[in-house]
């Protein structure tokens, strides 16, 4: 299907000057208040199951993309809700990151509209590509401050034939050592929940070997703050409040906001220079601080 609006129509809407902000479905914070708003094209343009790739407009709802891929037994490793572009702009992965990898690794090619209102392509349509600098990764997690995503080509993955959540009170490190490539490992300080995927017999055999009990669902995730810790430091969470930590990854869903993190001045300076190069007048999503 064609994208609506087209890439060129969207670029014209962004235009070359004046503050402008991009909106999706507002599930991850929404656009900047009081600024002219644009919305990225919608539509799943091209599903290529034998290439394991899909091309879609950045404004496409994640659920719509997921449904289009489900027909072919495939999926993309982008957490549910909102739009594809919004998920990429925020760059946060879901609780299956341990198995599926981070959101940034799903992106093969992007087209974005730059601060001059031009369409820029980065990356390439194939599953493997090292042609030029990897601007795709720069766009993921940039919150629309360097360019507005218009259209993306994503790597898909096969849906597993079987999946099951389990729970155990064994120590986290024991479970981490014992399981072969679990999709998710969550720890609340007492219990470890794990999601196993694959062949049903393999899943059952792993669960039995490790003494896991089936669970209906993963635990409820506290929503007070999203912490990012080196996974080797998760043991230090004891006594900080209610949390669910992603073992082997380091994301912590916590009842409290994350502690302040120092910013290296050299990294801050690189951010300033990159923003200046890509958006010299600061017109794209003005006011959003990314560091």
């Amino acid at each position: 299907m064609d994208l609506d609006p087209s890439i060129d129509e969207f670029a014209a809407e962004v235009g070359p000057d004046g503050p402008v902000t991009i909106a999706g479905l507002a599930t991850r914070g929404g656009p900047v208040d009081g600024v002219r708003t644009v919305m990225a094209p919608v539509g799943v343009a091209d599903v290529q199951p034998a290439e394991m790739t899909v091309r879609c407009g950045a404004g496409t709802p994640v659920d719509e993309l997921d449904a289009a891929l489900a027909i072919h037994g495939q999926a993309v490793a982008i957490p549910p809700s909102g739009t594809v572009g919004g998920a990429l702009a925020v760059g946060r992965s879901g609780i299956r990151r341990l198995g599926y990898g981070p959101v940034r690794d799903t992106v093969l090619q992007v087209r974005y509209v730059n601060a001059a209102g031009e369409v820029v392509k980065a990356g390439g349509p194939t599953v493997k590509n090292v042609s030029g600098f990897d601007l795709c990764r720069l766009m993921v997690g940039a919150h629309g401050t360097l360019g507005f995503l218009v259209e993306v080509i994503l790597r898909t993955r096969p849906r597993a034939p079987f999946e099951q959540w389990y729970v155990t009170d064994r120590p986290p490190a024991d479970v981490q050592r014992a399981l072969y490539r679990p999709t998710s490992l969550l720890w609340d300080g007492t219990y470890v929940w794990t999601l196993l995927e694959g062949n049903a017999d393999d899943v059952a055999a792993q669960a039995q070997t490790c003494g896991l009990e089936p669970a209906d669902d993963p635990p409820e995730l506290p929503t007070g703050g999203r912490w990012s810790l080196p996974p080797g430091e998760l043991g230090g969470l004891a006594g900080t409040g209610r949390f669910v930590a992603e073992l082997g990854v380091g994301i912590v869903h916590h009842e409290h906001p994350p502690p302040e993190r120092p910013v290296d001045p050299a990294v801050a300076e690189l951010h300033r220079r990159i923003k200046h190069e890509f958006d010299p007048t600061g017109r794209l999503n003005p006011g959003i601080q990314i560091l």
Binding site: Q48, R97, P125, K128, G132, G141, Q176, S228, G250, L291
Partner: protein, 478 residues
């Protein structure tokens, strides 16, 4: 070209023995495994992060270009020194700094060899997944610079997916950490842009790598086909069935003949193509995948199916794949190896064009490549002693690159752009696209001192594909 003051400062920082300007060293470091060369002014052999930082700070102070170099196995000229450059060799920074076997990550120095890392981790049942064919000799720092691939990247992803954080010396000599060993560092993904930047954004001095558990079980199969199309459709069929093998490698007829004459492994020398398929995982899923893969191959007219019965047979099947380059040296003394990627569905059509191009230029071009991700590796065989041959090789190579891009593919899957494909970049990217890449480079390196002249075509050469100085590679890998 380089000033006496610059040299004196380098010697003071590194010790005179680690700063080389003799003709032997300068000759040794004027090229990588490609067929291009430059002219270094001085070769530095730092032994610590601080010494790397000193080299870069001195380069910045005197506005002298510098280039980081690992093992020099790159095939695209990425480590070829710009004229008058300081070469910063990382081979002495080759230690494993720390390992966290539970959370599966390690900090390593950039000069550590790829295979050495996996060997040192064997006791933990872990390995570093990217496995370029040069893995015995290529360095982790080089893997980072080129975003290296390898046969097993089909399932596990290329280097970028395995790098968590990088301690880097920026082009102005500042030391900082990009990314983090936590999963969501604040800010832009600077780690992500550094990987694959071919030494143009700074020098990595410590690398935090993600480790992959060794597979509990593995099955390796060899199929052969009467036509390349049957083999390629089998590849597409496997992927479309929701199976992502650990590796999916193809050899064409010319390659099979050469390899069989060399190793006598019982390879099907009358086949148009052979497909090496490896699946890994837990036993039940492995058995189901193997059965399904054989069914798919049968549906596409496979002639013979060989499933390795034991580790010895598995090694023999892989030996065929890995001996390709040694075998090919028996046909002609020289080869030029290309690296492009096309959509899997375009493989048969592009291979047909490769054969036509080879015929037109009177060249033998065997193909051995990563079929699973559409990553072609045509080997243009020739004898450089025959006058005019190299020109035909370059012309044919350019036509192959153009055919790949025209089929919806890309310039390089794993070797990088370097000098070799710099002037082809406009085939894939518009002036606006390239300007965006230039902006990133400027943000990191306003004075353009880190490995200048690579990857990004200068505006003057944008309009036409220019030649780079070339001589003949003695040895290279894919």
């Amino acid at each position: 070209m380089i000033g006496a003051a610059t040299l004196a400062e380098l010697r003071a920082a590194l010790g005179a023995a680690n700063v080389r300007t003799g003709p032997t060293e300068l000759g040794l470091y004027r090229r990588d495994a490609s067929n291009m060369y430059g002219a270094a002014a001085v070769v530095c052999l730092p032994e610590s992060t601080e010494q790397v930082q000193a080299c870069v700070a001195i380069a910045d102070r005197h506005r002298v270009p510098f280039v980081a170099r690992g093992s020099g196995t790159g095939l695209a000229g990425g480590a070829v020194p710009p004229d008058g450059a300081i070469v910063v060799v990382t081979t002495r920074l080759n230690r494993l700094l720390s390992v966290d076997p539970v959370n599966r990550r390690a900090w390593v120095q950039p000069g550590m060899l790829n295979l050495d890392l996996s060997r040192q981790l064997a006791g933990h049942g872990l390995h570093f997944a990217p496995d370029p064919s040069s893995q015995q000799t290529c360095s982790i720092g080089g893997n980072v610079a080129n975003n290296a691939g390898g046969p097993h990247c089909l399932a596990d992803g290329v280097t970028a997916a395995h790098i968590m954080a990088l301690k880097v010396v920026l082009p102005d000599g500042t030391l900082t950490v990009l990314g983090g060993d936590d999963p969501e560092p604040d800010g832009y993904d600077l780690r992500g842009v550094f990987v694959g930047s071919e030494g143009m954004l700074g020098i990595a001095t410590e690398v935090c790598v993600r480790l992959t558990p060794n597979a509990p079980a593995v099955t390796t199969m060899l199929f052969d086909f009467a036509t390349v199309e049957d083999g390629a459709e089998t590849v597409s069929g496997i992927i479309a069935a929701g199976i992502v093998p650990a590796a999916l490698e193809m050899m064409d007829n010319l390659c099979l003949q050469a390899v069989e004459a060399y190793i006598h492994a019982g390879l099907p020398v009358d086949a148009a193509a052979a497909l090496l398929v490896e699946v890994t995982g837990l036993p039940h899923g492995l058995a189901a995948d193997t059965e399904r893969i054989v069914e798919i191959a049968r549906a596409h007219g496979v002639r013979t199916v060989r499933v390795a019965a034991d580790e010895a047979e598995r090694m023999l099947l892989w030996k065929g794949r890995k001996s390709a380059f040694g075998a090919i040296a028996r046909i002609q003394p020289d080869y030029y190896l290309h690296d492009t990627v096309v959509p899997r569905a375009a493989l048969p059509g592009v291979l047909r064009q490769v054969y036509e191009i080879a015929q037109r230029h009177d060249l033998q071009v065997p193909n051995v490549f990563h079929a699973g991700d559409g990553n072609l590796h045509p080997l243009l065989l020739f004898d450089a002693r025959v006058p005019g041959t190299l020109e035909r090789v370059h012309q044919a190579g350019e036509e192959i690159v153009r055919a790949s891009v025209a089929a919806g593919g890309v310039l390089s899957g794993e070797h990088g752009i370097g000098l070799e494909k710099r002037d082809y970049m406009p085939l894939m990217f518009s002036a606006v696209d390239l300007a965006a890449q230039e902006s990133l480079r400027r943000a990191f390196d306003p004075h353009g001192l880190a490995n200048p002249g690579k990857v990004l075509p200068s505006p003057a050469t944008c309009a036409e594909v220019a030649r780079v100085p070339a001589e003949v590679a003695e040895q290279s890998w894919i």
